[in-house]
Symmetry: C3
Subunit: 350 residues, 3 copies
């Protein structure tokens, strides 16, 4: 979430120095923003990192372009080129020079609701309508966006960003440097019921959820994700793990450290995902399943059994990726052979 | 989002005139609401557009029913029938006669938070708790629902409806006549990280997102959808496109004009969808994929490569629909032949 | 959503009495909380219900453990064991002894917005920033969380819990004892458009949605779910049905009583689901489909046709579970036979 700073200008010569790159062309060419090749204007910086985009480079109006050594002689007319080994990483370093985060000056807005026994760290920023229930604790420099609710006795660490309308239920824990995007819900009751007869008729009786949801340090959680609290155990998201938007994490799940969980993934109750694993978009993991460390799960895969460390699985039901690919290939081949196969079988034994 | 108006009555004769239909039966039969055949009462209007519902028509208590010419003689006892070519379209024209939208009188609620340099058009309605951050701009007659947050420097056009708890991050743009349903999040950071060693240990370093999310005119976005902002480029939803609920649109995606994106679809980063395409429910589109114009993607399909203009694709991995159907048919046939096939292969060469 | 009560202690002897179990070991062993075997300390109660967890039992530091008769002699050193037939159900009865719900004392917060003609039952609790639009009705003892919006003329029953940032559109109905988790949206317009030429160009014209969303008694709806209102008909969730997080229910859908709908399921327009059916996670149901009563639909299944009462279906397209399993098994077997099969067919007729 960033905002344009008051216009700042850098020349091609300054950009070359800042990135440790080699300047080719007009060192005085000045830019004041960053844009992709096909939208950049003469006062903007762009980059070319793959020959796939050579045509865009040829037509670009960008004033200055970062290029790889291999692509430095590509056809095109920017006033200057800066040759760097990794344009993406150079860009990462330059972005903060042109853009700065929206300022969130410290202070508690008068319309925020601060309960009894709430502890606030230094330099917190509490926006309009935010609700900190009794006994909530918020660390230093944390930003609590508008209409965020931090439940009773819940603890939020330092240097966190809670975007608008985040809800954290009571008795949860959020680490330091955590980013929660708008609409995230943490600590809702898990989906647990005991189906039994009450007064002569079957009903689904709710299992009280008294565990916590615990979010590790440096976690980022995308917009409108839902992380249920544990039933008796806790739900845990490990440090440094990142969740994309609309992800569902059920009760008692343990996600390891440094995982990447892409959009609309669902992990059902009590499953475990080891450190550094990647679940691609819309994948689903059944309950009570163990996914190892360093695992890659393909998009839309349906994981219904344990997956060993370091493996790549895909498909439904999920299998080692190579097997899934082979099965898919066989299927499409089969479709073309079906008539002949049926004929062959019709004849009975050959 | 509509509300019953104070009871208004129309007679069958008036309905026939209003729809250009032919009256059969009692022209004086009066109705004051619309309901489906199986729930309508004597003072309600209903419709029969398919012979599939002939049994419901026979049993209906509706006072007046719109029917197609083919079905005008169906068994049934409503006091009047109105014969029209397209009952659904006639209904569309009649609904505003019986129902009127909830009134949102212009004004800024005293509990709304209006930042510095905010520009408000004429006749805007700003509901309780809404937050317009510094430099936000809102066009004429736009309704900003309760607890909506419009980020710094974000622009919202005229005649828009922003339902409660919508969050738009700073520096985004929303066109005219746009409807955003409750809980929509626009402009959250995309899921972009560079995994690198920092101070001797691997971490996922966040890529700052400085692009915008741009929503075209006449777009409608369903409840709890998430539209990420671009990284350097912008994320764009074309004019007239409609999104169902819980859809995820990732960073740098371009959706064309007049598309229909059904519930729980996810489009991953930097993919493109051409004008007039339809993505059915729960479909997923991988990153960096081009879907053409006038394309139809089936429900739950997983698109992992480009799709040419005008084609219909389905399945996982998505293929031309005809191929997918053929593969599925072959698979279920195969299951029945498997034993004989194995026996045949066992015998070795025939 | 629960909170620790001031420490309460129960001894093993008291626990045996409360559960009707048999005490083995030190009746004086006292506990004051509940935890899973691998995290419990000497002053905590845990349980062992499956031999799968025997290793955890052996290593546990729990002071007291509930065990089944079969497992009562498992290796392990808790100070006391309580032998009960069903440890899970015994636990269910004990949880309220150790934890109590967060108190929500009755009252209307001064920052809540109460429209004209709003009716409030006895002992309601209305939290900060909640908005009850004109004519809304709320039953006795219902809790309306922070920033909840209850639309005009909408009725919410007694003993309900509406967690923060729930939005209910105007003219909807919510029964008694309903729990709506944070971010739930009820009554948004369904996804209905008529594509027609207007002023010479094709557009998607919005169908006004004048039906209601009706939520039965004892329903629980998970975080960030979306339930659209009906177009002319109503959308109905039957009494006692439970929805997990991020579920989408489209316009005019009828869900029966006592259903369980797991996370990220989507049910498209006008479909019906009978009483007591279970839709597993990420399943999708096409529009205008009838699913019977007592049906089980597998995770990620894609239902595209009617499903008879009592059946279990899975896969895409969904088929009776046995057929799906057989097809999947045949597919993976085929992959291994493909080369030999091709060779056989190459030779032409045997």
């Amino acid at each position: 979430m960033t905002s344009h700073s008051p216009p700042l200008t850098m020349t091609a010569a300054e950009l070359a120095e800042a990135t440790g790159g080699i300047l080719v062309g007009d060192g005085g060419a000045a830019v004041r923003a960053i844009a992709p090749l096909d939208r950049a204007g003469p006062d903007e910086l762009s980059f070319l990192a793959s020959s796939k985009y050579a045509a865009l480079f040829e037509a670009t109006e960008a004033g200055v372009v970062l290029v790889t050594p291999e692509l430095q002689d590509s056809q095109g007319t920017p006033r200057a080129r800066i040759v760097v080994a990794k344009p993406h990483e150079a860009m990462l370093a330059l972005i903060p020079r042109f853009y700065r985060p929206v300022m969130r000056p410290p202070g508690v807005h008068p319309s925020a609701h601060i309960g009894r026994g709430v502890t606030l760290g230094g330099d917190v920023c509490i926006e309009p309508g935010a609700v900190l229930e009794d006994g909530a604790r918020v660390g230093d420099r944390t930003w609590i966006g508008a209409h965020v609710v931090v439940g009773a006795e819940t603890e939020v660490g330092s240097d966190c960003q809670l975007h608008p309308s985040v809800t954290i239920y009571p008795n949860c824990r959020v680490g330091d440097r955590v980013i929660l995007h708008a609409g995230v819900c943490i600590g809702s009751d898990g989906f647990g019921f005991v189906t039994q007869k009450v007064d002569g008729k079957m009903v689904h009786v709710k299992i009280p959820h008294v565990g916590r949801a615990i979010i590790g340090d440096d976690v980022e959680i995308g917009a409108n994700c839902t992380i249920d609290r544990g039933s008796v155990d806790d739900t845990v998201i490990g440090a440094g793990t990142k969740l994309d938007n609309l992800v569902h994490i059920a009760h008692n799940v343990r996600i390891g450290r440094l995982c990447l969980i892409l959009a609309q993934v669902a992990v059902a109750g009590s499953s475990r995902v080891g450190d550094g694993s990647v679940l691609a978009g819309q994948a689903g993991v059944m309950g009570h399943v163990n996914i190892g460390s360093g695992v890659q799960i393909g998009g839309q895969a349906g994981v219904i059994c344990d997956v060993p460390d370091g493996e790549t699985w895909s498909g439904y039901p999920a299998r080692p990726h190579r097997e899934s690919l082979r099965a898919t290939a066989a299927l499409f081949k089969l479709a073309g052979l079906m008539k002949r196969l049926e004929k062959l079988l019709e004849r009975g034994t050959p």
